[in-house]
Each structure stands twice: as structure tokens, then as C-alpha cells.
Subunit: 160 residues, 2 copies
């Protein structure tokens, strides 16, 4: 199985991204959900991330901004429908540059052959929304995040 | 235009329900979002509805239970991603009898030829989930609610 995969089948309203991380599930969960760690892996390296709010609990809200080197601000916000530690996140996500186009995101954390598999499914309001999100260069951003997340996991494992 | 319509196209992950109500938009909004009024119109008449939580604001949560005459409890819960008074609700919805199958629901309130049009779009995690929801007799429930909602609107308009 590949370490990273993005699946977006024609005419479907979903994007399915899978990651395989060589780290225990609890550490993957902590790295993913810790507001202090988020700026260390989310988005490309030359982008600065500010976590304005990230209240990781069922019913909590989040708002996170990426500041690009050319001064553009890219902000996402949403609510956590469900937080089940080390297992599942169900959240909404709205890119403020595309207001009203809310995505339902389901992120599953599983043990997988001694590693951890994270399956991130984004359900979009329409096929057009889905294709628009992909056309913004989403895959490149996710690949960059995946690399940085792996690097951060290694650093955290060395420390512990 | 019909007063009520349910659209679920083959192979799509969505259900689109439209209602036309002969009442001002603000009254339709109030009737829809008032926790005290919810038991008076939601679901069939022989079902008793208990609103355990209904915090109608962005980031708020809700949990509502229907008690059927034969003692079955049907509970729904979710979070409000966005509440824009008299205009839009974006929320998640999970039927606790089908845990994990979370729906993204977008409800738009618009003026329409002197009446109010409410468009309620449910986006499901899969086509299978969508079809399962429809197979539970959803349409009958929505038709019953629509009748009771219209009746309640008339009563509220007489009072005011």
C-alpha cells in the first residue's frame, strides 16, 4: 500500500485521502489534534499557520489561517461534530475564500500493519464544488503537509 | 411550483427537499428555529418530540428525540456550522440509530413570489447512505411535518 493516496472519482461528491504513518496511533492523533503542533506540519513549509481557535471536542469550533509569503491569507473554519480520541473526527470545513461551500470531513485513525492509517474523506455539496477544491492545488498542499507530518512524527518519536 | 417536493436523483449523494410556505420569511424562520415550537410540527402527529438541546447559533449543538406510540425513541443530534437569521442554516445531522453516518444539511430560506421558499439539501457520506435514509420512510415523515408546519404557520398568523 502506498504511503499517500488521493482518490477523486468522476461525478462523485467526495475526495478520499489516505495516509500511512510509521508511528503509533496515539502519537499520530496527538500530532494531528494539538493546536501547538498544527503550524509545524500544516500546509507548505513557506506558509505560516496561525491557529486562532481549535477547541478539539465534540461541539467545539476551529479557525486556522495560512499566511503565504506573498501576503495572501487563506482561512478555514468549522465545527467538530464528533471527536473520539485516537479514532475519529467528524467536522465541517469552510474555506472563507469560497463562502457557503461547506464540506463534511470524516477522518478515521486505524492501526494498520504495525503503522497507523488515516483516511480523510471530504464530502462536498456538489461535484462542481469537489472539482473546484481539487483545481485550487489541494493535492500539492496535502502532499507537502504529509511530508512535514512524517518529519514531525520522527522528531517527536526521537524526543520520547 | 409545487408546495412540496423531494428530489433524490440516482447515484447522487444528496436529497433536496423544497417547501413553499404562504407566510413571511421571518415567521417561517422563527417557527423553524424556536425550540418551543419544534414539538408542534416536527414528525407525524402521533409522535411526541422532546427537544433536549437546541442552541440555535453558529457553533451551537442540538439533540432532539421523537417518541413513537409503540415506545421507540428516534434521536437526532448535530452541530450548527452556520446560523444566519432568516437566511441560512448549515448543520450536521446524525441519526443515533445509524451511528457514524453523519449528514451535512444546508437549509436556505428565500422570498418567493410573496411566499417563502425553504430548500433543504442533505449531503450524505455515500449514495448507499442516501438510499438507506430514503428507505426508512423519510418522505412520509417530511410530508407529515410539512402539513403540520403549514397548519402551525396559519395559527401563528391568526394570533399575530
Amino acid at each position: 500500500m502506498k504511503k499517500f493516496n488521493l482518490l477523486a472519482e468522476p461525478e462523485k461528491q467526495e475526495i478520499i485521502i489516505t495516509h500511512i504513518y510509521d508511528a503509533p496511533r496515539e502519537l499520530v492523533w496527538k500530532t494531528y489534534t494539538d493546536p501547538k503542533l498544527r503550524p509545524q506540519w500544516w500546509g507548505p513549509e513557506n506558509v505560516e499557520t496561525t491557529v486562532e481557535k481549535m477547541d478539539v471536542r465534540t461541539g467545539g469550533e476551529y479557525r486556522v489561517t495560512q499566511h503565504t509569503p506573498n501576503g495572501i491569507e487563506v482561512t478555514f473554519h468549522g465545527v467538530y461534530h464528533e471527536i473520539l480520541a485516537s479514532e475519529r473526527i467528524v467536522q465541517t470545513e469552510e474555506f472563507e475564500g469560497m463562502p457557503g461551500h461547506v464540506v463534511l470531513e470524516i477522518i478515521i485513525f486505524e492501526d494498520f500493519e504495525g503503522k497507523t492509517k488515516v483516511t480523510d474523506t471530504s464530502i462536498t455539496p456538489s461535484v462542481e464544488d469537489r472539482d473546484l477544491i481539487i483545481s485550487t492545488g489541494m493535492e500539492e498542499g496535502v502532499i507537502e503537509s504529509d511530508k512535514r507530518f512524517n518529519k514531525l512524527l520522527k522528531e517527536l518519536q526521537k524526543k520520547s
